[in-house]
Symmetry: C2
Subunit: 418 residues, 2 copies
């Protein structure tokens, strides 16, 4: 738990451990993650006790209910952590495969080998399941991991970490491959973010403030899992019934998550037919609407949207609505106000669909489906460490393969450069 | 040339231009790059005049000869710039292809589409050919580019940029897709590095100081093209003649470049047989050797290496030499002191070869070949924008494909999340 060791020492040890871990077999990594699942399962009482301690400490701090909800564990949630680790332990090995083999005229054979990234730092807030999920995903992909969880979850994270380490101690994987940083001073994190010689990647998971701080201070490459201002655009050529059910689903099925719709764009030609019916339904479901001028004419009860509403992630039963002239205006609006997460067009026009799919600059662009599907499980990855809103290395849902990189291996028989 | 516009405006315009550029056809992009080649060809007199101006200004500044050499152009070098653009214009289109198509149980069809990164900033020192190469590679891959060249090359870069813009003005590609920043104040660059809303990637090309500054200040993702401390390890089971020619080639064929060998590791069992002969040859070729204690015993005339020598990029006819116990010590040494660029093992032992290829944590790991092959042309990419020493997104030689990313396109017929 690294209370005595300095940040630099933790990171150096993680790098050395990573070299050992990178060369363990699939069976060894899989068995280690399965053991983690078992230890968490049998350690659930002590985890719940620790969680109670955190919840008591938090209750005095006037934190938001959603925050306390994320922090709190129960049997079902521990079960989910256990199941998630079991799933991870059965995923295909992302390492070692050799691709893009080419032979050059001089006889050199060049290929790409898939390898772990090395050492990954995860900086997150008070979601205890991140501790076990990330430990499992990183070990399974051959990466050392340095976990820095929110200070409000300190006892819970320590209890989970204890189970994880008990599992790891029964394997050939070095203990130093997983560390939990429990000191919470801001300068400690700042120091961590400067250790680009030993840490290869930082993934921040949390609110806007955390992500901005990490981006500002880090000398280590960062893959951001930033907010999702997701759009559904209902085209002039949309199937109205389909558009109706997609819009409702994208907004209300789980409004607190990053792939929920925050902004609805409607083509002018169908707005007067479509919006009153949809608006009525949203109102019944308790959704507050903030509309543009034209929306306001059609839905008298709606609030008027401010400029800042177009880039707001409400994470709640609130929706901004704008009437647009055509698919081009919709694309421009999304590229300007969106967060490059997930955006959908509802249309029966092939030309409009292709234009939208090509030109919207987001990680996941949908045709005739809800934005809510942006998720590692829904994409068939079997797990996820988060959803990247960055454009380099990995976009959208990230799982095992996205935690790897490649190196070139070059086979010669004495070639020298002329 | 953006003298009046502010940094933010330049970057915003580049982003908008990028959306247009991303949707031009292969033929349009290829024709534009070919036009650049022609305009530079026919503008060579004005480019050479401008270069003379820069060289005159530089001659008063007591700059190193190597620096002045990199800055200076002549007919042959302009010819090379023209040829390079022609080659780039004929490379395969890296955009638009659709891969990894899968159908989910709910009927969603999910695929990855290859798209441009968006806006790329190149910060470089006084090599005028970077201006034309990077403009060509970025336009060909559908990316807007912001070029910030060294201030000593200002007139040359302006003359080259003028030719490039003359070419672009004859196409559908917006002028704002290419900008050259000629103001050189440090605070301007710092401001540029904060514009992560508009710029997607920064590639610094230059010395250690430049790269460290950019890494420290940038909030935009950076792919570093850092120094190359490359190793050749001569194993106990090496073919001695092959080891000899590879070591000589890796060191002396072009010592000033990043893929040249800086450090030679020799297995103890063959050191007494191998090193005296090789050392004699190196001495004849004017190579200064800085050796470990054991090397010094075998090569009395060698200097003794200091600890700092093991991580030095000499870029010159200097070589550090260390005798090691086995392939494990060689791997540990390389992972500790190397820069993850290019490292080679010379051996006839399959076990040692595989161990080395697997465990050395570098972008390019060689068996029985010179490290000098790490190069976009030698790897069959037809061009290169540089050699990444980072582990995310792209490692080793970077060309058109490495300047692209992917997005998920998801085809539904009304799917909503349950």
């Amino acid at each position: 738990m690294a209370t005595a060791k300095g940040m630099k020492e933790i990171a150096w040890d993680a790098r050395q451990a990573g070299y050992v871990l990178a060369n363990t077999s699939y069976e060894e990594r899989s068995a280690a993650v399965l053991k983690m699942a078992r230890e968490i399962d049998s350690g659930r009482k002590s985890i719940l006790r620790a969680n109670l301690k955190d919840l008591k400490a938090a209750s005095g701090k006037h934190l938001k209910r959603a925050f306390l909800d994320r922090l709190s564990l129960n049997d079902t949630r521990i079960e989910a952590m256990v199941e998630s680790l079991k799933t991870i332990s059965h995923l295909d090995d992302p390492l070692g495969n050799i691709q893009n083999v080419t032979e050059r005229p001089n006889g050199l054979v060049i290929a790409k080998m898939r390898v772990p990234i090395g050492v990954i730092g995860i900086i997150y807030e008070a979601r205890p399941n991140v501790t076990s999920d990330c430990a499992g995903l990183c070990i399974m992909s051959g990466n050392s991991v340095i976990l820095k969880g929110g200070s409000d979850a300190i006892h819970t994270n320590m209890a989970i970490f204890k189970c994880i380490m008990k599992a790891v101690s029964k394997t050939r994987i070095p203990r130093e491959a997983i560390s939990l940083i429990i000191r919470s001073s801001r300068s400690e994190i700042s120091r961590l973010l400067k250790l680009n010689e030993y840490i290869d990647l930082i993934i921040p998971r949390g609110g806007e403030g955390l992500i901005k701080k990490v981006t500002r201070e880090s000398r280590i490459p960062v893959i951001k899992h930033y907010k999702g201002v997701c759009h559904v655009y209902v085209d002039s050529d949309a199937d109205i019934n389909m558009a109706h059910s997609i819009a409702i689903n994208a907004k209300v099925q789980r409004p607190g998550v990053c792939n929920a719709m925050e902004s609805l764009l409607v083509h002018r030609h169908i707005a007067s037919r479509y919006l009153p019916v949809l608006g009525y339904e949203f109102r019944k479901l308790g959704v507050e609407i903030r509309g543009c001028k034209e929306t306001k004419v059609l839905l008298g009860w709606a609030e008027r949207a401010k400029e800042s509403d177009w880039s707001r992630e409400y994470n709640d039963l609130v929706l901004s609505v704008k009437v647009v002239a055509d698919v081009d205006e919709a694309i421009r609006h999304i590229n300007r106000y969106g967060t490059r997460h997930s955006d959908s067009i509802v249309t029966e026009s092939l030309a409009h669909a292709l234009k939208f799919l090509r030109e919207v600059d987001s990680a996941c662009v949908y045709l005739n489906a809800s934005t809510r599907f942006t998720d590692g499980y829904e994409f068939g990855m079997g797990a996820e460490i988060g959803i990247s809103t960055d454009k380099l290395h990995a976009r959208g849902p990230m799982a095992l393969k996205e935690l790897t990189t490649y190196k070139y291996v070059v086979f010669g028989n004495g070639q020298i450069r002329k």
